[in-house]
């Protein structure tokens, strides 16, 4: 397999005098699936469109596999980049059959060589080649769009929130199918999404985008456990924020003494960040007193609204605690992130 390597450096883009991307840097190794995670309007789709080459960047460099696609004074148009693209809602050509859609980017020689059938077999669309897009299900439409992008064997595949149009249950399973397929192909892919769960499920690396910049790019566990800032933490899951004072490797908070992760400042006031599952029921006689105000049974855990240390927050408790229990002791497990108060 050839070495594929995408490098994006200092990309800027403005629309009508309003800058959307303020110098984006991104590196993707060959065979990596990267999720571009961010809220709507953060610029993630714009970045994807610039990588695809649909529009030129205002400044910055993009290289793919050693080939310069974008630099000042040079813009390789989309049709010569050999980058696959799966847009929102699939966007199948309504006037072509499933096979017609998949063969759209292939030469007649490639079609004769059975590339369409190969792509259909890979994506589990066997037997549907003669159907029109309106005659297949939403999941099949999405897989057709993927097969169409994969058929010319692009060096990179871009997926722009491709599962948005699907309902929740279908969304998870189609996403899993797509990721499995991309992995068996050893494809390098960028998946745009606003759903952290989708990003965790599918990606080797997650780049969190915030107002036109990459705030952090890391593997899912690092991103979740050691977010670069509070906004990144919020983007990747619910958080509990506490005021604290740092003393070496720990901080004093309203929930008592909490261990902080290495690399944090060692003194001064800080915002301490906990994940919900870090709050646990304490052994009798330990921890601090808490009152349960409201509880929601979630099967494997109970999501409880808890009051403790003068504040109220949501936490996950073991699902076997008795229904009658309204007061208990809690403690914090594991190390917390600490961000200095500016």
């Amino acid at each position: 397999m050839t070495m594929r390597f995408l490098s994006v450096e200092g990309i800027r883009k403005s629309y009508r005098g309003h800058e959307i991307l303020h110098g984006v840097d991104l590196k993707v190794e060959a065979g990596t699936i990267l999720a571009l995670l961010g809220q709507s309007g953060c610029g993630k789709t714009t970045l994807l469109r610039l990588i695809a080459g649909f529009e030129p960047a205002d400044s910055g460099h993009i290289t793919l596999d050693g080939r310069v696609l974008e630099e000042p004074g040079r813009h390789v148009p989309a049709e010569r980049r050999h980058i696959g693209y799966v847009p929102q809602e699939g966007t199948l050509f309504p006037h072509l059959t499933v096979a017609g859609n998949i063969g759209f980017g292939l030469s007649s020689t490639q079609i004769r060589d059975g590339r369409v059938e190969e792509a259909m077999r890979l994506t589990g669309l066997g037997g549907l080649g003669a159907r029109m897009p309106s005659q297949i299900s939403g999941g099949q439409q999405q897989r057709t769009a993927l097969a169409r992008a994969l058929a010319p064997r692009p060096s990179l595949i871009l997926l722009d929130e491709p599962f948005n149009a699907l309902d929740m249950a279908l969304r998870r399973s189609v996403c899993a199918d797509v990721v499995a397929l991309l992995r068996t192909q050893g494809a390098t892919a960028i998946l745009v999404t606003h759903d952290p769960q989708e990003a965790f499920d599918s990606a080797d690396l997650i780049a969190v985008m915030q107002s036109g910049r990459i705030a952090q790019c890391a593997d899912p566990a690092t991103l979740y456990n050691s977010p670069a800032d509070i906004d990144v933490a919020r983007m990747t899951g619910p958080v509990i924020l506490l005021d604290g004072t740092l003393h070496g490797d720990h901080a004093d908070t309203m929930l008592g003494r909490v261990t902080v992760q290495a690399g944090a400042p060692t003194s001064g006031r800080a915002t301490i960040l906990l994940r919900r599952e870090q709050i646990v029921q304490a052994e009798p006689g330990q921890g601090i007193a808490a009152t349960i105000h409201r509880r929601m049974f979630r099967g494997d855990h109970i999501l409880a609204q808890v009051q403790a240390g003068g504040m109220e927050f949501e936490t996950k408790l073991a699902s076997n605690i008795p229904t009658s229990l309204t007061s208990l002791h809690i403690s914090v497990q594991g190390a917390a992130m600490a961000y200095p108060v500016l």
Binding site: R49, A52, G53, F54, P77, A78, E79, R80, R81, H82, I83, G84, Y85, P87, Q88, E89, G90, T91, L92, F93, P94, H95, L96, F104, G105, P133, S134, G138, Q141, R148, A149, P152, P154, L158, A165, L166
Partner: protein, 519 residues
């Protein structure tokens, strides 16, 4: 295609729910009206007997008519299509300077009835007569009929399709051929079929230009002998020619895909014209000059210089009122009749409804004179009091213009999900009331468009008005026709000018509005 759309289509087409009683009853009236000319042609044709049918139709003359009719009905839509698609491409997808102005200018010939522009051109000299002139003049007349729907289709395209095609390595020309053209083909072909059916029914213009087709021949026959069997037979042939057009339109419509759901907010990219800009400007100038400028200037010449200028000018007020007096109620009646036809086929299933919906398209290619004679035939035999009344004229207008109203209303109806009606029903409204409260308000854009198109078309209607209107009725169209028949061009010109001005107002507003919707 979006999931939601697939869902909606399933809702609309998949379930076979019978239409409510009020709707089934409401389609009977337009159905009966449209059946009338067909019944007339069949009954009168049959009365002729087999030997007359054979000897009348198997003549070299019939072949001559057939060839002429087919030449006009195929060459005009094709040429108009080529011009219209180029114009639409420049105004919608390129950075054409003064695009707003050129859009209106390209649509404006709609305000010029074909017989007025033919009169203007043919009065310039014999070079603009006969087949060549007819093809030229009718092509320029037809361009807006194709231009407007093609523009709408071009603007309705989802830019993602072009993105996907580019990411698959397709260049500009390939994208036009493989992505854009197939998507606008239904609009293009639908408009082409509409032009073809206009060409089959065209009388006034071809009569000026001395081209003999089935329609002009039918008119000649009726002039020679009222209620003529040969004419009925020729009408039968014309009706057969209309069939592929009527059913072709229906086939295209089934394939048409409306985009519902989250529209893409991103604007379609426009091509920079660079040096071609000046050429494009020259092209639009030439197009506007030929299709609108020349007829207008010629009218102005006759208005100022014609020897008979000023003659009959006192009639202009009454003629104006007469035209409006028929066009406006005609528009109201036709729209009212078209609504149930559209609803019955868009939201429900049923063979009768589908047939009733197709029938008007079959009759649309028939000349007004056949429909008018069918009305006379029916009124004299079965409905005496109707004869020589304005109501009969309005009913004939309705038969002639129903497809225009149906197409406009259907465009709106296809965007209104049937769930609206079902929700209203679940909230306790009876079927008709549910329709009035929930569906009807959402159909209003289509209904307004339908009414203005029908009013425009009725205002220029000539043959049926000449034949049917109560004694003493004057309209702009009939006065124009009577003066030109006496070669009193100067006297005819003011009526044509008034007609063009009157039509120009709704055409301009309509064009500006249709373009503003997505800007």
């Amino acid at each position: 295609m979006s999931n939601r759309l697939a869902f909606l289509r399933g809702q609309i087409r998949g379930r076979s729910i019978r239409s409510p009683l009020w709707l089934s009853l409401a389609i009977l009236l337009p159905f009966g009206l449209v059946m009338l000319p067909i019944a007339y042609v069949v009954v009168r044709g049959m009365e002729a007997g087999p030997s007359v049918i054979v000897s009348d139709l198997l003549r070299p003359y019939t072949l001559h008519l057939l060839v002429n009719t087919l030449i006009i009905a195929t060459s005009v839509p094709i040429l108009a299509g080529i011009i219209a698609i180029s114009a639409a491409w420049f105004t919608e997808r390129c950075d054409l300077a003064y695009a707003r102005f050129w859009r209106v200018a390209t649509a404006l010939p709609l305000a010029m009835p074909a017989y007025v522009s033919s009169f203007a051109w043919s009065s310039l000299g014999p070079a603009f007569q006969e087949m060549g002139g007819a093809i030229l003049i009718l092509t320029f007349y037809s361009v807006p009929l194709v231009y407007l729907p093609v523009c709408a289709a071009l603007r309705g395209l989802d830019p993602s399709f072009e993105d996907v095609a580019r990411s698959l390595g397709q260049g500009r020309v390939q994208i036009f051929r493989r992505v854009i053209l197939p998507q606008i083909r239904p609009a293009l072909a639908g408009a082409g079929l509409l032009v073809a059916s206009h060409m089959l029914a065209e009388f006034g213009a071809l009569s000026f230009l001395r081209v003999e087709t089935f329609t002009t021949a039918i008119f000649e026959q009726y002039n020679a002998q009222f209620n003529n069997q040969t004419a009925a037979l020729l009408s039968g042939v014309l009706m057969v020619l209309c069939m592929p057009i009527a059913f072709g339109e229906a086939r295209l419509r089934r394939r048409r895909v409306a985009r519902i759901g989250r529209g893409n907010a991103r604007a379609l990219p426009r091509l920079a014209l660079g040096r071609v800009q000046i050429l494009a400007q020259a092209g639009f100038m030439a197009l506007t000059a030929l299709s609108f400028g020349v007829p207008l200037v010629t009218l102005g010449f006759w208005l100022a210089e014609g020897t008979s200028a000023g003659h009959g000018i006192a009639q202009i007020g009454p003629a104006l009122l007469g035209s409006l007096g028929y066009a406006l109620p005609g528009a109201a009646l036709t729209t009212l009749l078209a609504i149930p036809l559209v609803l019955a086929t868009t939201y429900y299933r049923g063979h009768l409804a589908r047939f009733a919906d197709r029938l008007p398209y079959l009759v649309h290619g028939m000349p007004g004179i056949v429909v008018a004679l069918a009305a006379v035939w029916f009124a004299i035999r079965y409905a005496g009091p109707l004869y020589q009344t304005s109501l009969l004229v309005l009913l004939v207008y309705a038969v002639l213009t129903l497809p225009l109203a149906q197409s406009s209303i259907r465009a709106s109806a296809e965007l209104v999900p049937r769930e609206l009606d079902e929700i209203a029903r679940s909230l306790g409204h009876a079927p008709f009331r549910a329709f009035v409260r929930a569906t009807l308000p959402n159909l209003m854009p289509g209904i307004a468009a339908a009414a203005s198109l029908v009013a425009l078309q009725s205002m220029r209607e000539l043959t049926a008005t000449l034949l049917l209107a109560p004694a003493g009725t004057v309209t702009l169209a009939t006065e124009f026709w009577n003066f030109t028949a006496d070669r009193a061009y100067g006297a005819a010109a003011p009526f044509a000018a008034a007609l063009v001005l009157l039509s120009g107002v709704p055409v301009t507003i309509f064009t500006l509005r249709s373009f503003r919707v997505d800007e």
